[in-house]
Symmetry: C2
Subunit: 294 residues, 2 copies
Amino acid sequence: MQFEHAMERCVRDVETALDGLLPPVAGPRGRVIDAMRYACLGGGKRLRPLLLLSTAALFDAPAKSALRAAAAIEMVHCYSLIHDDLPAMDDAELRRGRAAVHRQFDEATAILAGDGLLSLAFSVLADPATDTDPAVRAELVGGLARASGPEGMVGGQMIDLSAERWSLDLTGITELQRLKTGAMIACACASGAILGRAGKEDRATLAGYADDLGLAFQIVDDLLDAEASTEALGKPAGRDSAAGKATFVGQLGPAGARDRAAALVDDAVGRLQRFGNGAETLCQIARFVLERGH
Amino acid sequence: MQFEHAMERCVRDVETALDGLLPPVAGPRGRVIDAMRYACLGGGKRLRPLLLLSTAALFDAPAKSALRAAAAIEMVHCYSLIHDDLPAMDDAELRRGRAAVHRQFDEATAILAGDGLLSLAFSVLADPATDTDPAVRAELVGGLARASGPEGMVGGQMIDLSAERWSLDLTGITELQRLKTGAMIACACASGAILGRAGKEDRATLAGYADDLGLAFQIVDDLLDAEASTEALGKPAGRDSAAGKATFVGQLGPAGARDRAAALVDDAVGRLQRFGNGAETLCQIARFVLERGH
């Protein structure tokens, strides 16, 4: 119950922060800003922002700083969804229950809206309003840049689109996941720790938590793709198996995949013990990831 | 003669820096890195790096720092060329005398290679190796993020693709140019000044120089598009007039456009007088922009 409130509050606060940070729709370049706002506002679980805000709260980082960083990481997540949905990539028409950006606008605007969100995210992080200490801002930028670039999300998406994708073994799928979704989930937790001036050991603990959580998240994603309806997901279901892609469910079977995700979530929660009750929200996020229906 | 040497040295040094900063082509994500390297290496005038290096040298900033920042800004320039050339955007097959990235690889890889270069650029700037002072790194990031985002290059490209593009008047074309090419040229000069700890007045002078230079650059670009051959340009010539787009040449006529560019370059050079002989390379860059054949 308390956790649902925390989630709802995060969704509301991140929406407000994004609305304030995205430029207003005006002038001849208004169309790209309109598309950026369409992609970012009014939907999404806001998992990465919730992780960032909860981690920052663990170390009593200022809420305003954490919200700006959370909005920046969500901008990068939304940019990645826009580009992933393009006809040349996953060619998806539906996202968050609405038309994908390239269907609502057009391909060129979608490409530019994604590009614009990526730049804007770094602009937000580099701004003194995010943290008075420039070393903190530079570290946030470096972390998000690595997580979103060729050694992170972009690298993962490349593997996902590659010919070898169809014949990956469990190690290969895990490596793909680590880059494509894991790096940004880890970045969310690391960013909260950076804002909170967390020590080395606390950071290492959170990195372990994020790794377990990211992998569990992807396994559940595969289960949902295999078992949930398009309506429940808000995006086309059954695409991976229809395309013959190797998935965690294909490798482990539905029951095995569910067991593996549950074990990872137990591990993730176990790691947080050293933080005591302060990490309760992070524990609940891990359980939510396991039980989510979309 | 001395200037040609400076240009050649810049081209060589930036090539080496980019080669060292781009990841090696390896593993299942190697294809996107291959495309990033293809887009960045072995071509280009390196105008933005030359501006950055020359400005940094004016204030005796360390050459190693300046080269990293120059490579980062060139990565962003190369990413913008990849995305601009995509079928959904300008649909260009040729760039720097070679196949555009989406022709040499494929559309998905081209989109990802652009995305990867944008993230990598910020990763390079945020790295302590670029400058020991995190305030300098954060300022570099903020400047590049604004210049490349919706208030800069992305906004300009949106206007360039918009329906109104065909009927812009001189004010509209100037605003488009200021965003699409001017912002990054200004960012190059500003970055050199940031690395060199330049004072407020010096920064303002350089901003004025960059504004004049950027506008002159675009006017000459329009003249070349109208008058040069595809072979000389290394990219398709005559595209703007064939598409019926409003250009500086269309508005001012060829002779008027040439006069305007020359006057802007005179203004740009005049502004640099306060720096004395130290700004000789920046003066020569301005004259080169006017006289270039591609």
